[in-house]
Every structure is written in C-alpha cells, then in structure tokens.
C-alpha cells in the first residue's frame, strides 16, 4: 500500500536535478540523509565540546543506546510488516525484573533465569500476535492493552527493584570486550550483533522478503500461498523476545531489575520511524534504524556535554523525529 500522492497535489513546485531525484527514490534514501545529519551533528559537537570526540565517549553513547537498539532491531522487522508493538517497554521491565528476581531469590543458574525471562517475553509477544491476527484487534489497541496488563502484573508481583549481584549478569550490561586498544562495551556488541542478524534476515532470506511483501500487500501474499498469519505471529513473538533480551541487558547495565520505566516503547518506535520505517509498512531497512538510534544517542550526549537542560533535549529529540517524518512525506511527492 503505497500512498503516493499525485504530483499535482504537492504544492512542491521545485524541480530537483535528476541525480537527487534518483537518490531520493531509492528504498534506502533515508539512510543517506541520516548519515549526513549524524556526521553533521558529530562535527558540530566536536567543535563545541572538547570531550565529545573521544573513544570513551563514543562507547558511552553506544552503551546508552544499546538497549533501545536491541529492541528496535526486532521492532523494525515487525513494523516493516505493518505491525506495531506498544508493549515493548512493559516487556523490557517484566523480563529484566523476572531475571533479577529469579537470580536473587533462588540458586538456579543464570541460563535458567534468562530462559524464563525470555520465555515470558516471547509468550507475551506471541499473545499479541494471536490477538492481532486471529481476533483481528487493531495492533495499537491490542498492544496498549497488553502494556497495561504486563505492567500491572509486574508491579503486583514486585513493587520495588531487585538488585543484580551475579557477576556474569552484570558483565552483560557493564562488561567490556578488549580488542587491541579498544574496550568495547558488551551491550554495544550485543546491539550490533542483533542488528547484523536482522539485517541478514531482511536482506538475504525468504523470511525477510515476506516481511516486505506482507507490509505492502498482505492479501496478495495470502493469495500467493504464504502463511501470512503465521508470519505475523512470529514477528510479534520476535518483537517480544527482542524486548525481553533488551530488558535483561538493561538490568545488567543498571545493576537492578526495575518494575516500571515510562516510555521506553516510544523511544524504540521513534528511533525506528526516524530510521525510515513507515507505519503503514513495506519500507525501511535496519541500517536506518541503527542510524536513527545513533543519532538520538549522539544528540542527547552532545547536548548533555553542552549543558543543555534535559527538558530542552526532549524538545530537540521530538523535533528531529517530526522533521524526519515530514521530509519523508514531502519526498513522496517528488
């Protein structure tokens, strides 16, 4: 479903040179735009602050965005297929808390704790998939409902946070992998690995092709013999699983499983949309999501170094999202 507005309705009378038009028409034109903005932001902050351009700071940014990035990778797959998951944040908290509580209150292995946490997350995602596909509830409503249910159950189970004391658990969030002179934070490696896997799936597999196909025309896919319902349920399940994984990394990073945090799902979804995925489905690439996540991280970090108030940082973050989406709309009129 490409809602391409006819050229005459555009009100955009500018004639762009052909190479620019060709660039804008590419499936991944957002990537170039984001890359340009990201580089510009990096240059700006480097000039403005002596602390910005530094490998330690780069890894700080990486660590800060890794949680959003892990969840965003799976959310990208779901959203390209035309789905949406607003229960990501609640799942993250439920999973991180579950893993921390199991580790703190029993002497089971870390593998078991993670398996339970991920199992719960996948089951929540699977339930979202069933409600959306089999019953036909709008994904926004279904997953907001799920968000409340999961958050409620999480808070009812445990109203306070559970500390993480296990070394291996903490390493997942706080550890570093030393490669030569670089000490790369483990969460960054986990995010990049997740993104790479999602990239390979989208780019080279039948699964990836069907994600784009369903996002564009689900009924055509059904008629082509594709199990659209199964694909959708799988994608909601993966979204839940990704959020659960992100939640575990978050608990390791902060050193505690916390039952409640506001708005994480919106950070994830806005990063995905900033990266060029359309809410109506069918378009987007993982590289865009990675750049979207990084751009938000760089802006936040840079503004913090420049002593810009956190409230104003929110304003900038929101504005960048709106500008990116607006530009994307204007692009369709070319």
């Amino acid at each position: 479903m490409t809602a391409q507005s006819p050229a005459d309705a555009s009100g955009l009378a500018v004639r762009l040179p052909d190479p620019v038009v060709a660039l804008l028409r590419r499936r991944d034109s957002n990537v170039f735009f984001l890359l340009f903005v990201l580089v510009a932001a990096i240059v700006y902050f480097t000039v403005q602050s002596p602390y910005f351009f530094d490998d330690r700071n780069a890894f700080n940014i990486g660590r800060a965005v890794s949680i959003t990035g892990i969840a965003a990778a799976f959310a990208t797959l779901l959203m390209i297929s035309g789905g949406l998951d607003l229960s990501i944040g609640a799942i993250m908290n439920a999973s991180g808390l579950a893993a921390a509580v199991i580790m703190a209150e029993s002497d089971t292995s870390i593998v078991f704790a993670f398996a339970v946490a991920l199992g719960i997350s996948a089951f929540i995602g699977f339930s979202n998939g069933i409600i959306v596909t089999k019953i036909g509830v709008n994904p926004i409503i279904a997953t907001i409902g799920m968000q409340f249910v999961v958050r409620g159950i999480t808070l009812a189970t445990r109203s306070g946070s559970a500390l993480v004391r296990d070394r291996a658990f903490l390493e997942i969030g706080q550890g570093e992998l030393v490669i030569g002179a670089l000490e790369i934070p483990v969460p960054v490696i986990l995010m990049l690995t997740t993104m790479l896997l999602c990239y390979l799936a989208l780019r080279f597999t039948q699964f990836g092709k069907y994600i784009y196909a369903i996002g564009d025309n689900a009924s055509a896919c059904r008629r082509a013999g594709i199990n659209v319902t199964g694909m959708r349920i799988a994608l909601y399940t993966l979204s839940g699983l990704g959020a659960g994984f992100a939640g575990i990394v978050l608990a390791g990073l902060t050193g505690a499983g916390i039952p409640y945090a506001a708005g994480s799902e919106l950070s994830v979804i806005s990063a995905v949309i900033l990266g060029g995925v359309s809410l109506s489905g069918g378009v987007g690439v993982i590289q865009g999501t990675l750049l979207g996540v990084l751009l938000v991280g760089v802006l936040k970090n840079g503004m913090t170094l420049l002593n810009i108030n956190a409230n104003w940082q929110m304003v900038v973050e929101g504005s960048v999202l709106m500008i990116a989406v607006s530009l994307d709309q204007l692009k369709q009129r070319i």
Binding site: A213, A220, I226
Partner: protein
C-alpha cells in the same frame, strides 16, 4: 476409462450474512478447455472464482478436482492442485521487483535450511520465462510500483506460468488494458491453451470472450443460467442471458 473433468462443482453455494452470492451452481470443465465466465455485476462470478482458488470456502455443495473431492481452506490448497488465479487487482507487491513478484511463494534457495534466496538464478529464470511468454519489460529488477498496467499484468501472468499451473483463472484480465495490451493478453491465453492448460476467463468484453473461449457459462444472481459452446451461440444470445436470465 474416460478422464474426469479437471474441475467440477456440484450444487456449490455461498452465503454472506443471509445474502446468497452463489446458488447451487454445478459446472464441469474438462482438461484443455477455455471457458468464459460471464454475468452482470453481483452475478457471483468472483465468488465462484474465489472458491475455486481457495480464497473463500463454500457454504454448501461439493467441489471435485480430477474427480476427487477437495476442501480448500487457503489459497495454498488450490495451488497444491496447480490451480493459479490472476486476480483483477493482480495481487502484486508494489515494493518488490518483477522477479520477486514472479517468484512470490515459489522462491528458490541457495540454502534450503536457512531459506537463503538464490536471487541470481531467479533473475535468470525470470528473464527466460518472460522471453518464452514474449513479454517485454524494462528490467526484471524494476519495482512493480514503477510499471504500467500491461507490465503489471505481464508480471502476474509470468508468476502463473512459473507456478506451472494446469488450471489458470483470469478475473477480468482485460479491464485495465489498452488495445495493444489486450491483444497481447489474448495471444498469451491462446499460447497457454496450446500448451494444454485449462483456462477460466471472466470478462465483460464479449469480443474477447468469443475470440478465445470454447464454452461460455452465464451466471445471474448467483445461479447458472446458461452453459453454451461458443461455436453454437452468439454475443446477442449471451447478452440476453446476462440481462434476462433463463427465459
């Protein structure tokens, strides 16, 4: 022994919330036949076609493929029986290219376990296929959103040819086409017929129907009102059936 018909329906009906869209329709189509399915809007043509292609389940009645009773629950089931349909809206993904649409649901793999797509061989096969069908497109890598109506239909036709269908159903194939494109399509139908394929073609265009079909079936308000050999009837008679039904 006589070979059973490729497809046979017995008192096939379909209701939608009390509305009878298809009312006890019994038809029988033999191998290699080209059958025209005509009728006014709401006559039940699309309903019948959707049931045959597994997109819709019948409310009552039986359907036999090669003499064997079948129950299609998903388009996949019809495809397994080598029934392929070209829908009026063509059922293409605009964000995929020609090759990706031709192979949609029939991909070839480099690694079957991981379902890694063998894009190179699929591009090669698509080019060959289009050549064989005498279909010309700018490039098999062109996205469908950039194609003309005729090129889109060619893509849909190539998909059906790729799938190796025995029964091909065409729903209003010429409705959106220009003069030349219609000509090409009718030629292609004759080529499919020469290959021994069975074809059901829905159309409002009497000229097209009389040019390519062996037999014409007329539906009116969900009922079968005429089943005539094309050589033994004429457009006036068929139009009379469409408008007035059985006298």
């Amino acid at each position: 022994m006589e070979t059973p018909p490729v497809v046979e329906t017995k008192r096939l009906s379909r209701y939608f919330k009390g509305v009878v869209a298809l009312n006890e329709v019994s038809v029988s189509i033999s191998s290699g036949e080209v059958v025209g399915l005509v009728g006014d809007n709401g006559a039940g043509k699309s309903t019948l076609v959707k049931i045959l292609s597994g997109d819709l389940e019948p409310s009552a009645g039986h359907m036999l493929i090669d003499g064997e009773e079948v129950h299609f629950r998903h388009p996949r089931d019809a495809k397994k029986r080598q029934i392929e349909t070209i829908y009026q809206d063509l059922a293409l993904c605009e964000n995929l290219d020609i090759m990706e649409n031709v192979f949609l649901g029939h991909e070839s793999y480099r690694n079957p376990l991981l379902r890694l797509l063998d894009r190179r061989s699929m591009y090669r096969e698509t080019s060959q296929l289009l050549d064989e069908l005498a279909i010309r497109v700018p490039s098999t890598r062109e996205l469908v959103m950039n194609l003309s109506g005729g090129q889109r239909q060619a893509t849909a036709l190539a998909r059906v040819a790729k799938a190796g269908a025995r029964l091909i159903i065409l729903d209003e194939p010429t409705a959106a086409l220009g003069v030349n494109e219609t000509r090409n399509l009718l030629d292609l139908v004759m080529r499919f017929k020469a290959q021994g394929k069975t074809i059901i073609i829905i159309s409002h265009e009497m000229r097209d129907v009389f040019e390519v079909t062996d037999r014409i079936i007329v539906l009116k308000r969900g009922k079968l009102v005429a089943d005539k050999l094309t050589s033994e009837t004429d457009p006036d008679e068929i139009v009379r059936y469409i408008i007035r039904g059985r006298d």
